[in-house]
Symmetry: D3
Subunit: 339 residues, 6 copies
Amino acid sequence: MSTRIVCFGELLLRLGAPGRQLLLQSPTFDVHFGGAEANVAVSLALFGHDAAMVSTVPEGALGAAAAGELRRHGVDARRVATGAGRMGLYYLINGAIHRPSEVLYDRAGSAFANADPRTYDWDRLLAGAHWLHLSGVTPALGAAAAAATQHAAEAATRLGVRVSFDGNYRSKLWESWDGQPAQRLRALLAHCELLFASDRDIGVILGEGAREPAPIERIAAAAARAFAAFPRLQTMATTLRTQRSVDHHALSAVLVDRAGNMQLTPEYEVAPIVDRIGTGDAFAAGVLHGLISGLGTAQALHFGLGAACLKHSIPGDFNRVGVGDVEAFVADRGFHVRR
Amino acid sequence: MSTRIVCFGELLLRLGAPGRQLLLQSPTFDVHFGGAEANVAVSLALFGHDAAMVSTVPEGALGAAAAGELRRHGVDARRVATGAGRMGLYYLINGAIHRPSEVLYDRAGSAFANADPRTYDWDRLLAGAHWLHLSGVTPALGAAAAAATQHAAEAATRLGVRVSFDGNYRSKLWESWDGQPAQRLRALLAHCELLFASDRDIGVILGEGAREPAPIERIAAAAARAFAAFPRLQTMATTLRTQRSVDHHALSAVLVDRAGNMQLTPEYEVAPIVDRIGTGDAFAAGVLHGLISGLGTAQALHFGLGAACLKHSIPGDFNRVGVGDVEAFVADRGFHVRR
Amino acid sequence: MSTRIVCFGELLLRLGAPGRQLLLQSPTFDVHFGGAEANVAVSLALFGHDAAMVSTVPEGALGAAAAGELRRHGVDARRVATGAGRMGLYYLINGAIHRPSEVLYDRAGSAFANADPRTYDWDRLLAGAHWLHLSGVTPALGAAAAAATQHAAEAATRLGVRVSFDGNYRSKLWESWDGQPAQRLRALLAHCELLFASDRDIGVILGEGAREPAPIERIAAAAARAFAAFPRLQTMATTLRTQRSVDHHALSAVLVDRAGNMQLTPEYEVAPIVDRIGTGDAFAAGVLHGLISGLGTAQALHFGLGAACLKHSIPGDFNRVGVGDVEAFVADRGFHVRR
Amino acid sequence: MSTRIVCFGELLLRLGAPGRQLLLQSPTFDVHFGGAEANVAVSLALFGHDAAMVSTVPEGALGAAAAGELRRHGVDARRVATGAGRMGLYYLINGAIHRPSEVLYDRAGSAFANADPRTYDWDRLLAGAHWLHLSGVTPALGAAAAAATQHAAEAATRLGVRVSFDGNYRSKLWESWDGQPAQRLRALLAHCELLFASDRDIGVILGEGAREPAPIERIAAAAARAFAAFPRLQTMATTLRTQRSVDHHALSAVLVDRAGNMQLTPEYEVAPIVDRIGTGDAFAAGVLHGLISGLGTAQALHFGLGAACLKHSIPGDFNRVGVGDVEAFVADRGFHVRR
Amino acid sequence: MSTRIVCFGELLLRLGAPGRQLLLQSPTFDVHFGGAEANVAVSLALFGHDAAMVSTVPEGALGAAAAGELRRHGVDARRVATGAGRMGLYYLINGAIHRPSEVLYDRAGSAFANADPRTYDWDRLLAGAHWLHLSGVTPALGAAAAAATQHAAEAATRLGVRVSFDGNYRSKLWESWDGQPAQRLRALLAHCELLFASDRDIGVILGEGAREPAPIERIAAAAARAFAAFPRLQTMATTLRTQRSVDHHALSAVLVDRAGNMQLTPEYEVAPIVDRIGTGDAFAAGVLHGLISGLGTAQALHFGLGAACLKHSIPGDFNRVGVGDVEAFVADRGFHVRR
Amino acid sequence: MSTRIVCFGELLLRLGAPGRQLLLQSPTFDVHFGGAEANVAVSLALFGHDAAMVSTVPEGALGAAAAGELRRHGVDARRVATGAGRMGLYYLINGAIHRPSEVLYDRAGSAFANADPRTYDWDRLLAGAHWLHLSGVTPALGAAAAAATQHAAEAATRLGVRVSFDGNYRSKLWESWDGQPAQRLRALLAHCELLFASDRDIGVILGEGAREPAPIERIAAAAARAFAAFPRLQTMATTLRTQRSVDHHALSAVLVDRAGNMQLTPEYEVAPIVDRIGTGDAFAAGVLHGLISGLGTAQALHFGLGAACLKHSIPGDFNRVGVGDVEAFVADRGFHVRR
C-alpha cells in the first residue's frame, strides 16, 4: 500500500431513473457518487493502493456525503476542500436494446468549477505522491478548473511526480465556454507520461479534428504522432469498443509505448450490460494498477481490460472489485457460483 | 400540430408483478395505464400531433387518474366521460427465457363496457378530426362497445374522417359473450382506410379461421382478399415477429397497398426485451405518423417498425419516445451514450 | 395427489443484494426462503403431490415464518419441529456478465445443525410415505445432521420407502468439521434408489477425488461404477451445464439406469438468467415427478430439464411452476404472451 | 387446538396507495389479502385454534395466492373452492390528520358473489365444527351470497354448531341491489348466539333506521331489544370508538349478556394509527378466543379489545399477533423493547 | 370553470430523502415537482378553476416532465416556455420530533432565473385572465426575475386583471444578489389587491426589519400600515402557526380587509404532520378559491385554513384535494373511513 | 480534533422489517450497521473528535462493509481486525402504539465473540488515546470477550487513559453462558472514571438484584454506593425515561459526581419516535463530548440528553447529528424549516 496516487477532479452526484425507466417515469432517483477521477481513486484504493482525492465540494450535507463515500471505499479524502457553489450533478437515463443511454450534465456553477485555482497548494497536495491522475473532463469545466489542472501538472513535473492523463473529451463542455481544447490539452500533455486516449482524442489534442473510433492502424499512427509531440509521454492505451446493441458490446484494448511496441488483448463479449458508466475510468485504474505493480505492459493492459469488463456488471460509477476479481477474469476462471 | 386524430377505446389499469416475479410473489404491484387505443393516442401526442381520446371511465379517483395520465403526455382528454361501473384492469406477469408472459384481463363490468352507445355524440366528438383510430379490442368487449365502435366508424365515413383500424384479435374476449367477431369486424372494416392486421387477423375477419403468423406470401394474399372485400381500404400493414425466446425477438414489418405494392423492412434483433406490451400499438402510431407526415409508405413503415422496436426498451404501455428518437433508429445512428 | 414424498433438510433464509448490486451497496436485502430439500418439497407440492417437510427451525418469528412459507406453497409443514439455535442463512450476491455470483453461508450453530438426531422419530415421520428425498448438503452440516440423515435412510429401507438422493457436494461444509464425506455418503447411498449426481459427485462418493464436470462418456462410466457399488441404486440423473457467461448457460440432462440405458435431452440455451439458485433442486423435483407420475425415463428426464430451465426465469429459491408450465416447455409451445 | 371454527365469506385483494399517498400518486400499490371473515379466521389460527375458511375464489394465480396466504397463517384452506368470476378487490387510501381514509370497493362480479349457493354442502363443510362465524358483509353482496349465508346459519342450527355474527353493516353494498337488509339480517340473527353489533347495527337489523354510534345506555337498550327479538342470542359485544383525529382514536368495549349483565373495559388511547382496517374483525376474533378458551366475559372482552388495539399497529388486514401479545396488553406489561 | 387565474413563477424539482432519513442516508431520492406559484395553480385547477402557469423551464426531458405534471393536474401549461439554463431544484430532509426539516435550494442559474424578462409578452399571457397570482420568491431570484414580476404586475393593472401576492420572504435568496427587497416589493405591492403576508412580511416590505411571527394585534396594526401604504390593497390574510414539535403544529388564520374588519378562524391541531411543504400555498389557493367563488371573507378564510390543514396530510408540494374535501373539513364531518 | 477516544466492542448488522411491519411480512430487510460502542464512536466522530474503533469482524464482504461504514462517518477503522467466525447480527421489529419493539439477537459464534483476547495488543491500540469507551454488552458475549474487555480496562489504567463505561445490562446474554455478571462488572468498574448506569444497572453490578427504573432518590443512593465501591469513579449519569406508549416517551437525564452534586435536566416529550435503537449510546457520546469539550457537568448532561432526544428522530443505529444540531436543541431554537 506504499504507492500514493493523487487524483484531481470533480465529485458528482448521479441521479438515475430506476432500472430502464425514462426520466421521472416514476418519482424516484437512484443516487450514486461519481466523477471520472474519483472513479479512478476508488478503484485504486480497492486494489490496495494509497489513493487520495483532491477536489472541492460545497459545504454542508451534500459535500460531506461525497467525501464520506470516498472514505468508505478507502480513499484518503482529507484533501477534499469545501467552497462556495453547488454540487455538480448529472441525470442518467439507462438505455436498452436500440435506445441509447442519456447523460444530462448539470455541473455549471459547482463549487469545484467555481474554485479559485490559487486555493490549491500543489506542493503540499502532492507531497509523498508517486503519481498524479488527471483527465480531460476537468480542464473542460471552465478557465478556473483548466488553470488548476495545468498548475497540478506543472507542479507534478517539478516535484518528480509521474502524471497519468485520461482524454475523456467532452465537446459540449468545451463549447459551453469556448475553451480552446487543443491548446489547453497540449499544454497539459507536455507533462504526462501515461495517456489514455483514443485515436479520436489524439486528433482533438493535435488539432486534427474529431473522428470516429478507429482501427488499430490508426491508433498506432495516432500514438506515433502523440509520442512525437509530447516528449515526456511513454505509454498510451485505449479500449476498443464495438457496440452490438445498447446492452451488448465487445471490448478489447490496445497499448503502445514510445518504442513503438504494441500490445493487444483478446476481444470479450460484454452482455447484458448492467451499467456502462465509469468503464473507461475502470480501465485507466486497472492499467495504472498493473504498471504500479510491476506487471509487464501486456499484463497490465489485460488487467485494465478485465477491470473495464467487470465494471459493466456493477451498478453505479465505482468499480467495486478487488485485485482477485480481476485476476480471476484474466485467468479465465469461469462463471461458477462462488460458495 | 394541425392533424387531429381521435382514438376511441378503453383506458386500463395494469397491475404488474415487479421485475420478473410471479404474481404476488412479493406484496406489490407496479402500476401503469394503458389500453390499445390510448397507447396510440399517447404516442401520436408525443410525436407532436393533436391526439384526442374518447372513452368512458368510472367517476372518482381512478378515472381521474387515468385522464390525468393522458393529459400528462399531451393527449386531449376533454372527451373522456365518466360513467357507472368499475375501472377495467389487467394483471401482468412478465415472463423470462422460456417462461411466457401472462396477461389476466379483469375488464368485465367496466364503466367503458357498460357505457350506453347513445352517450357518444360522434358528430361532436369527431368535429375537426382528420383520422379516427379504432381497434378490434373494443367491439370484443360486448354489444354496447361493439355498437359504439360501429357508430363511430359510420360517423367518420359520413363526416369524411379517415378510419384507421388495428385488428388486435382477442378470442377470449369475443368468446365470453358469443360476439360473432367475423360479422362485426367486417361491418367495421367497410369504413376503414388503413388496417393493421396480420394474415391471421384477416382470416378471422373474413371468416377463414385463425392461423399462425405467416410468411410474406400469405400476407400478400390475405391483403389481396382484404382489398377485394373492403373497397375503402387503401393500406394494410403488420409486423413480422420471430420469437427466439421470451426475451429475444426479431422484428420486421410489411405494408401492402391497394395497388399491390409491398414494402418490407430489414429485420432487427430485439433483446433483451424490457416490456413487450404495447409494441403493436407503437407500430400503428408510428405508421400513422409517417402517413400523416407525408413520408412515403416505405419510410412510414420503417418509422413504424422503429417505434415498435424502441417500445420494447420502455417499461409500461406507452411508447415514451419522440420523433427524433425514432429517426435516430431509422438512420442507424448507433448506441453511444448521448451526453 | 396420493403419492407422499418426505423431504428432510435445513430451511434457510436467503439475504440477497437487490438486482445486480454488490453486498450492502444499498442498505436493503431481498429475502427468500430456501434450502435444497425444501426447494424439492415446494416444487413437488406445486406439481400436485403430497409433499412433507421434516426439519428443525428455531422457535419464534423466524422459524414460524419459514414453516408458514412452506404451507403457503402447499407443503405439509406439520413435521417441522422447533429447537434451540439460530436460523441458518446465506447471503447472495447475484453476478453478471463476467462477474460470478457469490454465496456466503452462515449456517453454523443453526437449530437444524444443533438438533439431536434422536429427536427424529423416523417410524412416525415416514408413516404413509412413498419416497424420502435427501441431499448431500445435510450430512455435510456436522455429525448430528449426518447421523440424522443416515437414520432417515435406514428407516426408509426398513419401512419400504424409496430413497432419492441429490449429491449437492459442498466441499467447504465438509472441510469445516473434517466430516469424511466419502465414507458417510457411501453409507447413505447404500439405501438409495434414485441418485442425482454428476460425474464429479460420484468421484467424491467413491473416493476418487473431485473433478470438473465431464462429458457423457465419463458420466456413463461413473454411473456404472455407482451401480456396481450400490446395489439398491436403480437410476442416476444429472444436468449438463455449459456456462457461456454468468447470464447465459446451455443446459441438457442425462439419465442412466441400472440396465445401462442412457437418455439424453436436447440442449437449451438459457439467457438472460434471472436466478440461478435452486435449479438443481428443480431438476430433481421434475425427474421425481416424472417417475412418480409414470412417465418413461426419457420423458421424466425431459420434464426435469424443463423444470430446471424454467427455474432460471424465477426469482428466489423455489420453482413456482405447475405441471402445465413444464409441459408447455417440453411440448415447445413457444413464447407468446398468454392472454 | 381442538376447537374448530368455520368462517364463511369473501377473500379480497387490497390495493393500497403506499404510506400516506393518494391513489396513484406514485405508480405502485401495496397489496394485502383481507376480507372480514378471513381476518377472523387468520386471527383465530394465530391464537392456536383450528380455523377453517369456506369461500370461493377465481381459478388461477389470484385465487391460488389467496388460499396460499390463508395457509401461511395456519388456516385450513381446503374448503376454499374455485369458481367463475373475478377476484374481488378494494382500493385503500390511508388518510392522515384531518383527511379521512377511503375504501373503494371493486367486488361486483366476483367469483364469490357469483357462486351458486347450492355449491356449498354445509353438512360436509360444517362437519366437526364448533362455531360458525359470519358477518353482515356477505349477505350484502347479492342474492346468491345472502342465500348461501342463510343456508349456512340454518345448517349450523341444525347441526348444533354455534353461530357468531358480526354486523358490519355496509349501506352502499345493500343499496346496490336493493337487498332488504333488515329482513335478511333478522332471518340470520334468528340463528346466532354471539353478536358483534353496535347500537347502529341493531337499529338497522330491527328496522329502526341507522344512527350514529351511541353512548352506553343506548347500547344496553339496543341489546335488550336484540335479546327480545332473537331468542337464541346469548351475548352481544361492540367496541366504542372516539376519533380524535384520523391518526388518533380512543377505544373501549362493552359486552352485554342475555341476563342483562354488562361488562365495560377501560378506554385506551390509540395513536398514531398504523392501519385501521380489520380492527373490528380483530375484536371479534379476540372475544371469540376468550369465550372459546373459557375466560369469563369480562376477560374475554378485555382480550378482544386488546386484540383490536394491537391491530391498529399492524400493516395489512390480518391481526398478526399471538395470545401472548394480547395477554401482555391486558396485563399492562409496558412498552419496553423486548430483547 | 370560467374564472381564469394566471400564476407566474418557477417550477422546481424536489429531491427528498425518503421518510425521515437524512440526506443520502440511503441512495435514493423521492422526487416531486413544486414551486410556490405552481402549487397555487395546481390547487386552483383541482378546485375546478381555469388555472394557467406562466414560467420558463429548460429544454429537454426535465422541463417536459415539469410541464406534463402541471397538465396532469389540469393546469393550462401552454404558456410554459423553454429556455437556456438548468432545472431549479431543492433538496428536502424531513425533520421529526426535535429535528427541524431542512431545505437546501439549488436554484442558481436556472432557465427561469436566466430568462430575459422581455421574453414574456404579458398582454398575450394575461389575455382572458381574471387574476394574476405572484409571490415574493420570484423577485428574490435575481434582477431578471424581479423585472419580469414587476412587468407582470404592471400589465395586470393596465389590463384590469386583479393581482394576488404571497409574501414568501426568503432572506437568503435576496441576500445572494443584494436585491433590495423592500424597494422592489413595495413597487410590486402597489399593484396588488390581495396579500398573503405575516406581520413579519409586512415589516420587511415596509422596511421595518424582520420580526418573529406575532400576535393578532400586531397583525392588525401591520395590516393597517399596509393598507395605508398600498391604495389598491383590499384584503390581507395569513395563517398563525404554533409549532409544538416538528410533527405537531396548531394552525389558525386571520384576514383583515381595508375597512378594518378582521376574521379569525378556530385553531386546529395538526399532527402527525406528513408533509409541511406547500401549506402556505395551499392556504393562498384556498382563500383565492373562496373569494372567487363568492364565499364571504369568513368562509373564504375558513376554506383556506382547511386547505392548509389538509395539505399537511399529503406527500409532495401539491395540495391534491378537491372542494368537497375542504368542505368536509369546514363542516367538521369527522374522521370515519369513507367507504 | 485532538482528543482521541478508543471504543472497543462488536460491530453488528441490523436486519429490520420495513416501517412498522412484522418480521418477513414482506420479503425485504432494511439494513443498518450498529453496535453500542460503534454507535458512540460514530457520534463522537461526527462531533469532531478523533474516534477510533477496536473490533474484530469476519473476513470478506460483510466485515469490509462494516469497516467502510465506520470510515464513511469519519471513524478511524484501522484497528478493526479480521478473524474467523460469522458476522454478528440482530433482527429488529419496530413496534407501534401498544405493540413493543422486538430485538432478536443472532450474535453467537461471531468473529468478535470468537476472537482470542491475546490478539489485542492494548499498548499499541491505546497509544495516543485520551479515553477508552467500553460497555456492558461486550463482557456479556462470553469469556473471551469478557477477558478482552478486562485487559483493555487494565491497560487503560496502566497507560493513564481514562475509562468510560456504559452499563447496558443484557440479562439474556449473560445467562446464555452463566457469565457471573456482578463479579466481572465489578472488576471492570474498578478502572472506570465515568459510568453510564441506571439504578438497576448499579444493583446488578453490586449484586443487589435487578430492579425497575427508579426515582431520583434511588439513583442518588445507588450512585453513592457506586462511588463507595469504585474509588476511581468520578461521574455517573443516566437518562430517565417514561414510556407513554411505544411511540411516545418522555426523557430527562441526571448526573451525579463523586462530591455528591446532582444535575437534572428538564423533561422532553419525544413523539412520534422514528427509531429507538441507539439512544442510550447517543446519550453517552453526548455527555462524553460535553466533558471532553470542557462544558460544565450541567451543560454536558443537557448536551447528552439533546443528543439522545435527537437520535429518536433518526433511522438506524447511528446518531447522525453534529454539534450544531444538539446546540440548537439545548438552546431551544424551535422547529422551523431551515432554509
